[in-house]
């Protein structure tokens, strides 16, 4: 009963928190003009940044590359390099921009004084022939990425009404050192950092939505156990129970779920972020595995062998009722609930023996295959804005991380690193 009370108060708290944000986030409906329903990409005319003063052009050039690279990343934009004639003293030549099918025009200026950088950006809607927004960003000359990415985040939010993946982290497993350890990198694969050094087997990392805690499975004790690492000070706690722990996932920043076998069968349990056991969620004969939660935390998708072969089920945490979600194929695992709440990405073993990534609506409709005939593809995880999916593929021989748009477009390697990389998890914005 306490659990239900907690859930209800959590929902209530979430509603209080979320609703005002939504009201604030939409910039007077401007983005509706831009993001045409059903259109694949927003065509963006991106001018080179102008140098205002105090810079020989190096800072502007660097920022230009950072912004250009970042905007190419979310599979949202088609980027055009406009002709010089789009802008003259009398203002923006909207008709010239319209003639190259640009929908949005971006320009900016850079000022550098004593190592301090100021970036003034202006974004225009070409269809509406007016300024969409204008904003100034500042930072240090030595740390330009956050400056450029702050603009990119604002741009995406203005154009789509949603928060972007800029600034988010990806945690993953690599055997680079000869042992499987946990690493993290920025959303674009940059700034790789090794987080664990257990020289054992570390698997299935999951970041709490507030980014403060990392949960993962580790074999340091000789058996797979749940570890929770404080991301600020690097301290870890082990949640010890007899039996094994597999594949943790956060329900919110205070609770996580994992499979434990200490009661005999493999069932999914809720734990507090300090590792204390809280509540058992599944009761079925067979494997129950790989929880992933709806954005409101009230539903859990997971893998169950209750009918024989592994299939994905969705369980309502309030009623306890579970229904089967996947019916195509004999082996469906690794569900990942989309941040918008309407889809589940997962991995299917096809009849050919090939593993591929699919998405399906949480109502079971709208099945879509995202990868095909490109090696083995698995472990999908959504970007926090729901625009992209990071996954593992061995299409180039060894297992590496790739990203793609949420419909499977634009499949690109995320990073270059020795050894193999797998089990990527993209951080969330959930509270």
């Amino acid at each position: 009963m306490q659990f239900y009370r907690n859930v209800i108060s959590t929902i209530f708290a979430l509603c209080l928190f979320v609703i005002p944000l939504h009201l604030v986030a939409a910039p007077e409906g401007e983005y509706i003009i831009i993001s045409k329903k059903g259109s694949e990409n927003i065509t963006l005319a991106l001018n080179k940044l102008d140098v205002q003063r105090g810079d020989d052009g190096k800072v502007a050039h660097s920022l230009d590359l950072i912004i250009r690279d970042a905007l190419a990343f979310p599979a949202l934009f088609t980027i055009l390099a406009p002709q010089v004639t789009v802008q003259d003293n009398s203002g923006i030549n909207y008709s010239a921009l319209g003639s190259i099918n640009a929908e949005v025009y971006v320009r900016g200026t850079v000022t550098t004084i004593a190592g301090n950088v100021t970036l003034d950006m202006k974004v225009y809607s070409i269809g509406a022939a007016k300024l969409l927004f204008s904003k100034t960003y500042s930072g240090k000359e030595t740390q330009l990425r956050p400056v450029g990415h702050a603009f990119c985040a604002d741009l995406v939010e203005h154009l789509t009404g949603r928060r972007s993946a800029f600034g988010s982290k990806i945690v993953f497993v690599s055997n680079k050192t000869g042992f499987k350890e946990i690493y993290q990198c920025d959303f674009d694969g940059k700034d790789v950092e090794q987080l664990t050094s257990s020289r054992s087997i570390s698997l299935t990392p999951a970041l709490s939505p507030d980014g403060k805690n990392l949960a993962y499975t580790d074999y340091s004790t000789g058996r797979p156990a749940l570890y929770i690492r404080n991301q600020l000070d690097g301290k870890t706690v082990m949640a010890s129970k007899s039996g094994i722990s597999i594949d943790p996932a956060w329900r919110n920043s205070r609770e996580l779920a994992t499979t434990l076998s200490f009661e005999g069968d493999q069932e999914i349990y809720l734990l507090k972020s300090d590792g204390a056991l809280y509540r058992r969620l599944t009761r079925s004969n067979g494997i129950d595995l790989s929880p992933t939660f709806s954005p409101d935390g009230n539903k859990m998708a997971f893998v169950s062998g209750r009918n024989g072969q592994p299939q994905i089920f969705i369980q309502d945490l309030l009623s306890g009722e579970a229904r089967r979600l996947t019916f195509n194929g004999d082996y469906n695992t690794q569900p990942s609930w989309s941040p918008s709440g309407d889809k589940i990405a997962y991995t299917t073993c096809e009849n050919s023996g090939e593993f591929n990534i699919f998405t399906v609506g949480t109502d079971g409709a709208g099945l879509r295959q995202l990868t095909a005939q490109a090696g083995q593809n698995e472990s999908p995880s959504w970007s926090p804005d729901g625009e992209m999916i990071v996954f593992t593929s061995n299409r180039d021989g060894k297992k590496r991380l790739y990203t793609m748009g949420a419909t499977g477009r634009n499949q690109l390697a995320l990073l270059q690193m020795s050894g193999e990389q797998m089990q990527a998890f993209w951080s969330l914005f959930r509270k």
Partner: protein, 205 residues
């Protein structure tokens, strides 16, 4: 809710029952009943034949490669021959102990009749060597996804353990752990290599 809890109580007894369509190949899919568990608790035990509910096929003479081919077509028979010729137990160079490993079909933790024969031999050995204990490691091939394989590996090690406990080996002497697909015995991608990796591996202590 209460009904579900009651259902859960019989769950451990059903562990061996497995869950794969490959169960058709096996003879052990329905061997366990609550009754068969009860008399199995005595700690030291003579070699015992598999318990009555087990399918009659399981009581055939000790596994000879030629006889066993029908039971499990993907069992690595060539390496098994090596093991047998060297020590009478074990299946390949990774197996150094006197107690033999048992092998499984893809996505299955069901004990084949051949696996049951091997486990009967193992149980007999533990009956003669009462100071010994073992860690049973569940392993999987690299097909399948790695999280699921950790769960499947645990079910394989638990299947093997439960069977031996029913033959009289005291439960605390058999510890189980799963390595999923993390510690392959053969890193090859051939069917034979895959078959070698689908096992419950005994480490005698």
């Amino acid at each position: 809710m209460k009904k579900k809890i009651n259902g859960f109580l019989i769950l451990p007894l059903l562990v061996i029952a497995g869950c794969s369509s490959d169960a058709a190949l096996s003879t052990s899919g329905s061997t366990v009943t609550p009754a068969s568990l009860a008399p199995a608790a005595s700690p030291s035990v003579k070699p015992v034949p598999p318990p009555p509910p087990a399918a009659p096929v399981a009581v055939t003479p000790p596994a000879l490669p030629s006889v066993s081919s029908a039971a499990s077509p993907t069992t690595p028979s060539s390496s098994e021959q090596n093991g047998l010729s060297q020590s009478g137990y074990g299946f390949d160079q990774w197996q150094t102990g006197p107690v033999g490993d048992v092998f499984f079909e893809f996505d299955s933790s069901v004990l084949s009749s051949k696996a049951q024969e091997q486990l009967a031999k193992n149980a007999a050995w533990f009956g003669r060597n009462t100071s010994k204990s073992a860690r049973i490691e569940g392993h999987c091939d690299s097909r399948g996804t790695s999280e699921y394989n950790i769960a499947l590996g645990e079910r394989r090690s638990t299947s093997a353990k439960e069977y031996m406990v029913r033959l009289g080996v005291a439960s605390p002497r058999l510890e189980t752990v799963s390595f999923g697909e993390e510690r392959p015995f053969d890193s090859g991608k051939s069917n034979e290599a895959m078959a070698k990796n689908r096992r419950a591996h005994f480490v005698v202590k």
